[in-house]
Structure formats: structure tokens, C-alpha cells
Amino acid sequence: MRILMPILFLLLAPLAGGLLDGMDRKISARMQRRVGPPILQPFYDVQKLFAKQRIVVTNSQTFLMITYMVLIIFTGCMFYSGVDMLMCFFMLSTAGIFLYFSAVVTDSPYSYIGGQRELFQEMCCEPAVLLTALGFYILEGSFQTSDLIKADRSAILALPGFFVAFLFILTIKMRKSPFDESTSHHPHQELVKGVTTELGGSNLALFQITEWYENVLMLSVVALFILNKNPWSILCAVLVVLATYFLEILIDNTSARMKSQKMLQLSWAVTIAAAGVNLVILILVR
């Protein structure tokens, strides 16, 4: 199990992530009354990107991008091998810093601003992410994901506040509107493509794949809120994950970009109001 799951993650996560991305584009198009691209569109895009030249503004971009990708994948494998969840989250933020590096190392205006905002987004997310791990720890007395999935009851019953806070920052983590601060998925915005502005060809493909891995990892945390020792909970978790993803698409399509400082206020306020209050209650009850 400890070996099998990381390998499955390594192989299947990009497939799942790509499919979810394709569904995202299809559903978004339908919400706008368009036909939309085929479900497999993200894979076509990545295939094309690999066929193109690798272009850079400065050579170190490539190695920073590769490091970012490998660290994210490694974190995901760690998570799936059932080890310490808090450690995984620390690792995730370390990996995120390499994305920031790859953006600022270019010293190009849009990429630099995107990098700054990426960092800002990290700051918005980190409390909620760390608190999530702590919530699980209080509940089950362990940070090990392998222990958490064997719980008697789904964690969400005791951790609804943590779940809400995590859902909130999920939008930031997925870089979706209204929090698509660091890179915009839609054109004609003030920061062009943010952190990815200076990435072209296969470097952009690497970024795309990494994003799939990261999304799957984040959604796995959502699933962890549902999973318990009953095998049927897996089906339930999948449904909840899909519903979550649909919710993200809906928010993405119905909201406009928010100012970054507003994002900070809002995300921290939600973190405290939801996860913080839940934490207090949990500690008082236990």
C-alpha cells in the first residue's frame, strides 16, 4: 500500500488532473452557452507545447521550473504514501517558493508582479492549510494520512469549520477567479499571464502538468475529510470532490477578480471565523 499508492498517484494524477481541467473548460463553456473544447483539450495543449521550442528569458528558469514540478510531485507521493500530513504541507510551500523564484528570476515586469502575488497567495493560504492538518491531528491524534483514512467516522462531522476554510483557500490554491491573482487563465488582464508570462513551449507544459498534480493533491485533502474505514466512503469522497470542483468552476465563472489585500483580509477572516472557531470548540470538547 505504501509503495502502490504513490506510484498510482504518480501515474494517474496527471490523467485525473487533465480530465478535471478539460471538464472545467467544457462546463465553463456550457455555463456561457458555448459548445466549448473537447474534454481532452488540456492533453492536446500539453502535447502541442512539448512539440514546440523551449523558450526562456533566462536559462535558470528551466531548472527552477523542473524543481518546482519534482517537489510538488514528490509531496503528492509523500501524501499518498501515508506519511505525516503537516510535513507534506510544509514541503508544499517550499515547492511553491521555487515557482516564485522561476518568476522573479526573469526580472520581467509581468512575471515579477505575478511572482509577488503568488507569494501573497501563499501567505493567504498557509494558515488554513496548516490548521487543517492540526484539525485532523486533534481529532485522530495522528498526522499520518494512513491513520486518518482508517477513522471510525468521517472527519467532516467534527471539522466542518476546517472544511469551509479549506474550501475557501482551495480557490486561491487553484488560482481561480476571484483569486486568480498570480496568473490569469483569461486574456486581456492587467498582468498578462502573471508567473507564467515568460514560460513558453515545454516549460509551460511542465507548469501545466504540475498544476494538475497540485490540484489532485489539494482535492485529495478534501477527500480526506470524507474518508473513513467504511469502503463506501470512497464513493462518497469522490462525489464530494466532484461537487467541490463544480463549485470552484461556478465561483470562477460568476465572480470578478478581487484586490490582493482584500483577498488577504477575506481569507484570513474566513480562516479564523471557520477553522479558528472550530478549533476552539474541538479543544474545549476533547
Partner: protein, 187 residues
């Protein structure tokens, strides 16, 4: 051979257009025409684009910009001139400040006529451009197959020929790319 024709990403640049064609370009991405069903994405970034869509004639200010955007795109790449101004300079052809069509500064592969060009013809132009894109990509892949993987990312002169060499293009047209600055001031 990589199948690239399903994922043409556009870069739209307004050289000096009256905005008529620009609106139509955007219209072709809206629900009525929905170019995204062909995988078209309107990206704002030349580094990520495959097809450069230029509207309006080229003038002194925009000539350098068009060249630079073209240069920043990764090979293989295709250029589409949208609207009669971008094709030839249109009604502004003889204006003191207009160089002429886009093909006075960069090689153009597809000309979409019209004032303003209709969304249908723009999509038609994009579809033509996609075919060229695929063809160039195939040549590129073949070259990579022959010369090893490292050849993909080199910018040797042969690669330029495969992807559409500006010099060849201008030779075939029988004219030289215009230098915008001194040329106009001498008049």
C-alpha cells in the same frame, strides 16, 4: 508526429486598426461563433502563442512591436492578417504614417479580407492557419527525428527555413521589408 492542430493558441495584436476587426476577432470567440471548440485560446502572451493575429495596417509605431511579438513566439508559428488594412493597408494605404499591410514587416501566411472581416471568415482564416501550423510542426518533428532531440530547441538557420523564413517570404513577394523610420521621413 505531434498532433498540434487541435490546440492553436492565438495572440491578437491591434497594429493600427479602427477596432472594427478587433471586435470581430473577439466576436469569433463569443458564444455565437465559439472558436474555442477548435481548441482556440486567446492568450495575451506571445511566448505561449502559436498564431499571431494582426488587425490594422502597420505604422511607424507598431512596426517594431509587430516584429518583436513575432520574434518572441516559439517556433513553429503562423501569422494571420485580419481585415483589409492588415492585408494591404486598405483605405489608409497612402496615408503618410502607414507602412502598408503586415507583410511589410513580418511574413504573413493567411490573409483574411473584409472591412471589417466577418467572424466567419476570421474563423475560416484561423482554420487555414491551423493547417499550416500542423504542416510546419510536422516538418519540425521530422527534422528533430533526423537530428536528435536536442535539435528541437536550437535556432539554427535551417529551422527558420522550415518554419517560414522571413527572407524567403519577402523574396517571393518581390519586395523588401520596409524600414519604418528613415524611409518615411525622407519623403
Amino acid at each position: 508526429m505531434a498532433n498540434v492542430k487541435r490546440s492553436p493558441w492565438l495572440l491578437h495584436y491591434d497594429a493600427s486598426s479602427c477596432n472594427g476587426c478587433d471586435i470581430e476577432v473577439l466576436a469569433s470567440l463569443t458564444p455565437v461563433y465559439d472558436a474555442e471548440r477548435f481548441g482556440v485560446v486567446n492568450t495575451a502572451d506571445p511566448m505561449q502563442a502559436d498564431i499571431l493575429l494582426v488587425t490594422g495596417g502597420v505604422n511607424a509605431q507598431s512596426a517594431e512591436v509587430v516584429k518583436q511579438l513575432y520574434d518572441q513566439m516559439a517556433r513553429p508559428k503562423v501569422v494571420v492578417a485580419v481585415g483589409v488594412c492588415a492585408c494591404t493597408g486598405g483605405v489608409f494605404k497612402d496615408c503618410y504614417n502607414i507602412n502598408g499591410g503586415v507583410d511589410t514587416v513580418i511574413p504573413v501566411d493567411v490573409y483574411v479580407p473584409g472591412c471589417a472581416a466577418r467572424p466567419e471568415s476570421i474563423i475560416d482564416g484561423i482554420v487555414k492557419a491551423v493547417a499550416i501550423f500542423q504542416e510546419r510542426s510536422d516538418k519540425h518533428d521530422k527534422y528533430v527525428k533526423e537530428h536528435g532531440e536536442s535539435a528541437r530547441d536550437t535556432s539554427d538557420p535551417d529551422a527558420a527555413a522550415r518554419d517560414g523564413n522571413p527572407a524567403d517570404f519577402f523574396n517571393a513577394l518581390g519586395k523588401k521589408p520596409q524600414e519604418h523610420t528613415d524611409h518615411k521621413e525622407e519623403k
